[in-house]
Structures are given as C-alpha cells and as structure tokens.
Amino acid sequence: MKIDQNFNDLSDEDLVKAIVLKNDTLLFEILYDRYDRLVYNKCRGFSKHDDEAQDLTQDIFLKLFVKLKTFKGKSKFSTWLYSFTYNHCVNYVNRSTAKKIEKQSVDTDNLKSEYYNPEEEEESIRDLKVDKLKEALEKISPEEKMILLLKYQDSLSIKDLTEVLSIGESAVKMRLKRAKEKLVNVYNDECHEE
C-alpha cells in the first residue's frame, strides 16, 4: 500500500517514465484514474452518442499505453495528452464521415506575426454564446475545432501549440486566425438564419 501511495504522489511526467520502464499496467491504472474524465469528456465533444465516446476513450487509452514511450517530456504531459486525444478524435471523425481532409498547408515564409493580434482575437471570441458556439464548432473542420479547443478551452500557449502540432509559430498563428475567422463566420450565419 505504501508503494502505491508513493506512486500516487508522483508527477505525471515521472509516472509516465515509471510506466514506460516496465510497461507497468498497475501504474498505468493510476494514470487512467487521473485522466479518464478529461479524455472521456473531450471525446464526447467529437461524438454524437455517449457509447461512441466510450469506444473512443477505450481506444485512446489503449493507444496511449502502446505509444507512451513517444512522450519525450518537451511539454507538460497533460498538454501532450490533449493533443493525442484530439488527434485520435479528428482522425475518427474524418474517417467515419469519409470526408476529404482539406489540406491546410501554410506558406510560412510569407507570414508575419502582425497577422495575428491576440487582443482582436479575444474580443471576437469572448461575446459568443455557448450553445451557438457549440453548434458552430460542429460545422467547421475537426482540425479547426481541435486547434481552437486547444487554444481557448485548454489554454495552450502558442509555444505549446508549436510543440504539439509540430509546426512553426507563424503557421500556428495563421491556422488559429483562419479557424477563428471561419468559426465566427459560421456563428454569424447561424444567428442570421434565425
């Protein structure tokens, strides 16, 4: 019992190291208990039914166990897990709807930081109503939804985003700007339809 207590006190990052060392399933259970609610609720945001969210959560934790060694500690574990979860959900949505993924390649050479104005960004987002926002998020692409949730719901910094998405700072800012513009457009269309 004492050993369990010690492991319970470990930081996420140290716990991950201990799990990876021996593929320890008992320690993985501690990690599951810490993050099951978070992962499950993120999955609910990408699925239509609770059953679907349960299946997604189950798949994510299995994949997490197998891929845990790829966590290199460059960002906080929770940040990495958010991205891991969203990536799985985005792939699932794209696969299940057989949608063609819109290529979002960004020419980073021609981008300048002044395109992104955080103050301006906040103003347009702040006044959105929750229920309409939820509907609008369903209508934009899963990739756009993912970056907006990472930034505004999970409060990742631009630096965190560059790490978890493995793209440059300018590309992150441009993707955020485009996703936000699209969201606000869809949101306004919805309001006008009423």
């Binding site: 593929n23 399933t25 993985f28 259970e29 599951y32 099951d36 609610r37 978070l38 499950y40 609720n41 609910r44 945001g45 609770d50 349960q54 959560t57 189950q58 934790f61 299995l62 166990f65 197998v66 955080p118 103050e119 906040e122 987002i125 702040r126 959105l128 109503k129 929750v130 926002l133 939820k134 998020l137 907006l148 949730l149 505004y152 719901q153 409060s155 910094s157 631009i158």
Partner: protein
C-alpha cells in the same frame, strides 16, 4: 505573454463534465493487459540491435 480572457465561452462548452461509466475502466485495463502481453512477446522474439551492438563492443574491448 498570454492574455487571460474573461468570460471565455469555450470554458463553458460541455460543462459540467460527465462522469466516466464505471465499466469502462475494466474494459480499458483488459485491453492494456492484452497489449502488454503482445508487447512482451514481441520483445521476446525480436532482436534489439542496439543492445547487441553495445554488448559486442564491450566484449571486444576485454
């Protein structure tokens, strides 16, 4: 510097958080146990080139 946004509507989506169904944990842990078995078996039958090279070099030095 990240500004803290007041009244951020994103924070209120899907609130309150829903509890995870209790039966999910046993399903996940069953999956994990199977995965561990397969990973251990794979390790048993695969060659870790890195450690072989390392051991060979060590022995060569003696």
């Amino acid at each position: 510097m990240m500004n803290v946004m007041k009244n951020n509507p994103f924070k209120h989506i899907d609130q309150p958080l829903k509890d995870v169904p209790a039966e999910l944990k046993s399903k996940v842990m069953k999956d994990i146990a199977t995965a561990k078995l397969l990973m251990d078996l794979a390790n048993l039958f695969s060659l870790n080139v890195g450690s072989v090279v390392e051991r060979t070099i060590k022995q060569r030095k003696k």
